[in-house]
């Protein structure tokens, strides 16, 4: 609940505050949309291509890795593209059966470290950085685009 909405519950000017609140929300939505268009205009697009046929992944025309690490990167980029979220927790990936070998001994950190090293070696403009305990982030100056070519 916004501060105007909270104030409106006990303020005799609630009719005016409600009106301001509605106007503010509409204005904020318009600004968010304008800023999103601005960010899109100033961002280069980095294509991430996942090849399901051999489980490998490319970032900006550079091969990065294959196997589970590639699937992990694909999932990160999918979330970034669809939800606009670039920070992730280990736990959310440990719940995905395709990314872990065993629920008790996932080996997730090892695969994440491999992926991190592979991205650094590929120098493709995409990196993984730790973000506190049990969390990491994708870091790039570009807008990410996930491409998954059809099987042949």
């Amino acid at each position: 609940m916004s501060k105007h909405a909270r104030a409106a519950t006990k303020n005799f000017l609630r009719f005016a505050l409600t009106e301001i609140d509605g106007a503010n929300e509409a204005a904020q939505a318009e600004l968010d949309e304008l800023h999103a268009r601005y960010v899109a205009a100033v961002s280069q697009t980095l294509r991430v291509v996942y090849f399901a046929s051999d489980g490998s992944i490319q970032v900006g025309e550079r091969h990065v890795c294959r196997g589970t690490s590639a699937a992990l990167l694909r999932e990160c980029v999918r979330i970034a593209q669809q939800e606009g979220r670039m920070e992730f927790s280990f736990r959310e990936f440990k719940r995905i059966p395709e990314l872990i070998s065993h629920p008790k001994n996932t080996g997730f950190e090892t695969r994440l470290n491999r992926l991190r090293a592979a991205l650094t070696a590929a120098a493709s403009g995409l990196a993984i950085e730790p973000r506190g305990r049990g969390q990491f982030a994708l870091v790039t100056d570009c807008r990410l685009e996930l491409v998954e070519p059809e099987h042949r």
Partner: protein, 120 residues
């Protein structure tokens, strides 16, 4: 899309005594530029007022993320430079400077709307 890149530090790493100011005003300027001049107008302004850190200009995308975070800090000299540059830019674009400044006045969105001339 949000960028998770670490928000740029407001100051050069070797200048820990630099004056800094919150980004509220910078964000208000950005929003009003977007409203008045659109994406291209805002882009033109910010590309002429790049933010440098440790001798390197931030990318346009990183600058956009920095500006949008009103709680982030920017060097005060850079912000003062913006103020003087802004007026010249607005005059060049034929924008009413006084009306623009009114839009970026702090706390403007917390005020009650002015009564209409007819008193309703």
């Amino acid at each position: 899309m949000r960028s998770s890149a670490a928000q740029p530090l407001p100051i050069d790493s070797d200048d820990s005594w630099a004056l800094t100011t919150r980004n509220d005003y910078v964000k208000a300027v950005h929003c009003t530029l977007l409203r008045e001049l659109g994406v291209n107008g805002a882009r033109e302004f910010w590309s002429n007022n790049r933010f440098e850190r440790n001798g390197q200009a931030l990318s346009e995308r990183a600058l956009a993320a920095h500006i949008w975070d009103e709680r982030a800090l920017s060097p005060t000299p850079w912000m003062l430079g913006l103020v003087s540059e802004l007026e010249r830019f607005l005059v060049d674009k034929g924008v009413n400077v006084a009306a623009f400044n009114e839009q970026t006045r702090p706390g403007r969105d917390q005020e009650l709307p002015a009564l209409r001339a007819d008193g309703n």
